[in-house]
């Protein structure tokens, strides 16, 4: 290679202040005073893993209801106040959290605080709105799952192959039967139980002065009555002791596809081992230089695409244990599944045997840059800090992660691959296209 590349860990500057209000609301302030806009993010520590049996999809349905009226505001008013003041908003239901955010002109910070506090105070519910949002969610599921090829692959279809318990295995979008069974009372109970200040994190990121913002936070959120946060059950379950295989036919899919799920170390209990597993995933799948792209796509030509990540939706830091390392491959119809698997397993063995320091350093540099890209955007910065506070009580980790990634060694990656990325404890899901099964 021509020029040598300087080695220096790029350190992002993410100044963070933390406080907790009397009602238990955790507050993270991440000012970037020059910015003309501000992101207001609220995270509730409840995701689809916590929704009760018989109510699959409820956490997500409830997220919809949070936009449909609150203590002081009728339906539609929330969106009008955000957008009519030049802002944007959204929410997302994850396995272990539900998040909400607005990005607004800096001058509208207090409006954002009011809006989030008002729906933390109380969500406003009735039969008509519930029925309306059940219909809307069903159309969301039709768009994203039922009416398209590879819908819900692999986030809905792989977990039930790797996991056994309801919490870890069920469909987070929900069944139509369960969605239609949801009642206003269910929603009121869910709100009372999970949407308490002490089960939430508020994070502000962007253009504001913390000394001016904190009294506003206190003014809007401080008077919300505190309720005890629910006790969170363990979702632990044993690691499979043999390979689990399942086939599903996708009548809309034009090509076969394959998803693999592997258990990984506890993201919270053993961060070092978890980071090694996260890095090893990138060694296998990060871009055209990655091991699996080179082997399966370029060399063996048995796959046309390979990708992978740790976590439910691609963020390894927003999940609790148990979670998984996922690999996905699309391959031509004339290639057998086992051809892809054999090549993949062999390449993992090769990597365990010969991963070098140079290769690892390249991958880590690429991951560090990816973290920085995420931190550039106020909303993704705010959500990242909120989830680090939720799961670890440590939003400062955002700034330290690049350095921690650099400490992962080739031996650590090899050990992670040899321990976790094994055929004898994984889930294999084959997608058979066009009803050919």
């Amino acid at each position: 290679m021509p020029s040598a590349t300087r080695r220096r860990t790029p350190a992002p500057s993410v100044p963070v202040e933390q406080t907790t209000l009397a009602n238990g609301l955790r507050v993270v302030l991440a000012p970037d005073r020059a910015a003309p806009t501000v992101a207001v993010c609220v995270l509730y520590d409840v995701g689809f893993r916590s929704e009760p049996e018989g109510r699959t999809g409820f956490a997500h349905l409830f997220e919809h209801l949070m936009f449909e009226g609150s203590w002081s505001l009728p339906k539609l008013r929330h969106a009008e106040l955000v957008q009519g003041n030049g802002g944007v908003f959204n929410g997302q239901t994850r396995a272990d959290a539900t998040v909400y955010f607005e990005q607004l002109p800096a001058s509208a910070l207090e409006l954002g605080l009011f809006l989030e506090a008002d729906r933390m105070r109380a969500v406003r519910l009735d039969e008509e709105t519930l029925a309306n949002q059940i219909a809307v969610v069903q159309e969301e599921i039709r768009v994203n799952v039922l009416n398209r090829p590879y819908g819900g692959f692999p986030w809905i279809t792989l977990p039930p192959v790797l996991f056994d318990t309801y919490n870890n295995a069920h469909n987070g979008y929900g069944s139509f039967v369960d969605l239609e069974a949801a009642t206003v009372d269910d929603a009121a109970d869910f709100f009372t139980r999970y949407y308490t200040p002490s089960n939430a994190v508020l994070c502000l990121a962007g253009g504001f002065d913390p000394d001016a913002a904190l009294p506003l936070v206190e003014r809007h959120f401080g008077s919300i009555p505190g309720r005890r946060a629910p006790k969170r059950p363990s979702f632990a379950e044993p690691i499979p002791t043999s390979e689990r295989r399942q086939k599903m036919t996708d009548p809309l899919a034009p090509l076969p596809a394959l998803a693999l799920g592997y258990r990984v170390p506890d993201p919270l209990g053993d961060l070092d081992a978890y980071l090694a597993a996260v890095v090893s995933t990138e060694v296998l799948t990060d871009g055209d230089a990655s091991r699996l792209h080179q082997r399966l796509v370029k060399n063996d030509r048995c796959a046309t695409h390979v990708g992978g990540y740790v976590g439910t939706f691609g963020d390894p830091f927003d999940v609790r244990d148990p979670t998984m390392l996922q690999l996905v491959a699309y391959h031509p119809p004339d290639v057998a599944t086992d051809t892809v698997l054999t090549g993949l397993d062999d390449e993992v063995d090769q990597t365990v045997a010969d991963l070098g320091a140079d290769e690892l350093r390249r991958v880590v540099t690429s991951m560090q840059a990816g973290l920085l890209r995420e931190l550039d955007d106020a909303v993704s910065r705010g959500l990242m800090l909120a989830v680090l506070e939720q799961l670890r009580g440590d939003p400062g980790l955002a700034a330290r992660l690049p350095g921690l990634l650099a400490e992962v060694t080739p031996a650590g990656v090899s050990e992670a691959l040899a321990t976790w990325v094994r055929p004898d404890s994984r889930a294999v899901l084959e997608v058979v296209p066009g009803g050919q099964a």
Partner: protein, 455 residues
């Protein structure tokens, strides 16, 4: 107020805070230099994180565009980084990782683009790599064979998606035989693209004349311009691009129903021509689009989603090509409510085209348009993409101040006039992808229908 609170009592909420007037957008300072070979280079210092974003746009338009052109453009995008005289594809990919970088190519009837990023300290290395690829991509035969095959598989994946099927059907109806109406490349033609053709395309059509390079990040602007000039100042010229002709206006006619047996939703699209960004009437059209369907607080979303529950994410857009702009309504609705959804869309369009909007609707849409412009340029990546997009339409950073100024002057009458001209149901064509056996009969009660098979 409808609905009861989930919890009572929950204390006393403060009043809704008022928000002061919108501040004028503070424009980033853009350092610009036009090199002797015609390349325009722009650099902006925005240093929140130690990265730099790079965007290159090279106009390559031709008066006539053939299916072969289209196939070559698609394979070119996939193979631009597959090797140079001194580096293999793997060398290039590894080098990019070392830079904390990424770089990807794309090509269509209008231009070739190169887009990427790196750790800011490695900007010279990223520029050198981009320049090396532009001057010296070799398209190794083995790499081209692999990528041709992958492109064909990707095309199969794309063609199976109903939203892509709908987009292609809209393009055919609105743009006809114009390159903008071409749809996806023909996989057979893709299979015949050769390394020599790609080399020739790059040599003959990709050069600095009219091209724009944008760099945004934790960089010193003047130094970045120098670095770009050092590696791209010697970029050899190619035949100048030609302006694509404007497409003929669409021909009105029956609803096009693309039959997708078994579909559980119908992908409804209504579309028609729109005004270019630089047209004096565009700000009023932009406001009309927002009020009608351009955001959540729009008439379309209130009606189809929040009142009827027919669809998850109805929306409208005004998209701009260099030679044409298009207004599109998108609503993916449950199969059983296809015809009723069409009735509601026609009703809302009719209101827009014949009645004035309310003052509060106008004010909210204006603030949203102006506010989201500011949001769009908050990240290095957002600003870089916005600048290169503006440049491809011959516009500069001033547009980000001029548009809000013009939007502020838009009146209720202006919006009515724009809606009458561009949102009137009589001006739009209707295209749907859905199960004809389920929906054709009910649509026929509203309009003539032409059923066509999936492309």
């Amino acid at each position: 107020m409808a609905g009861r609170p989930a919890l009572a009592p929950a204390g006393v909420a403060p009043a809704i805070p008022t928000v002061g007037g919108q501040r004028r957008l503070k424009l980033p300072s853009v350092a610009t230099r036009v090199l002797d070979n015609g390349l325009t280079v722009m650099a902006v210092r925005q240093k929140r994180v130690p990265l730099v974003q790079l965007r290159l746009m090279v106009p390559t338009g031709r008066l006539r565009a053939s299916p072969r052109d289209q196939a070559r453009q698609r394979v070119l995008g996939a193979t631009l980084l597959s090797g140079t005289s001194s580096r293999t594809a793997l060398d290039l990919a590894r080098r990019l990782q070392e830079l904390g970088g990424d770089l990807s190519g794309g090509a269509d009837a209008e231009d070739l683009s190169l887009s990427g990023s790196a750790l800011a300290a490695h900007l010279p290395d990223l520029l050198a790599l981009a320049a090396e690829v532009l001057a010296d991509a070799t398209f190794p035969k083995a790499e081209v064979a692999v990528e041709r095959h992958r492109v064909r598989q990707e095309l199969a994946l794309q063609a199976s998606q109903p939203n892509v099927q709908a987009r292609m059907a809209v393009a055919r109806r609105v743009f006809g035989a114009h390159p903008y109406g071409a749809g996806l490349p023909d996989p057979e033609v893709v299979g015949r693209v050769t390394s020599a053709q790609l080399s020739r395309y790059l040599q003959d059509r990709v050069g600095p004349s009219g091209a724009v390079l944008v760099m945004v990040g934790d960089i010193r602007a003047e130094q970045a311009l120098d670095q770009a000039e050092a590696v791209l100042g010697g970029w050899r010229t190619a035949a100048p691009p030609q302006d694509l002709p404007a497409p003929a206006p669409p021909v009105s006619g029956p609803v096009t129903l693309v039959d997708r047996p078994g579909a559980v939703q119908t992908n409804i699209r209504l579309a028609g021509p729109a005004l270019a960004r630089s047209h004096p009437g565009y700000p009023a059209l932009a406001v009309a689009n927002i009020v009608f369907g351009g955001y959540f607080s729009s008439r379309l979303t209130h009606n189809l989603r929040e009142d009827k529950g027919y669809t998850y994410s109805p929306h409208t857009t005004v998209e701009h090509h260099v030679a044409a702009s298009i207004f599109t309504i998108t609503a993916d609705v449950a199969t059983g409510v296809t015809a009723p959804a069409l009735v509601e869309i026609a009703h809302e369009l009719g209101r827009m085209a014949t009645l004035p909007v309310m003052a509060e609707e106008l004010a909210a849409a204006k603030r949203y348009l102006t506010g989201t412009l500011a949001l769009a340029i908050q990240t290095q990546s957002g600003l870089a993409s916005y600048l290169v997009m503006l440049a491809s339409f011959g516009l500069g950073i001033d547009y980000l101040r001029d548009l809000p100024d013009a939007v502020a002057k838009v009146t209720v009458d202006d919006v009515l006039e724009a809606a009458a001209d561009w949102l009137a149901p009589s001006r739009l064509v209707t295209v749907m992808v859905g199960d004809a056996s389920q929906v054709e009969a009910s649509i026929r009660r509203l309009s003539d229908v032409e059923v066509v098979p999936l492309a």
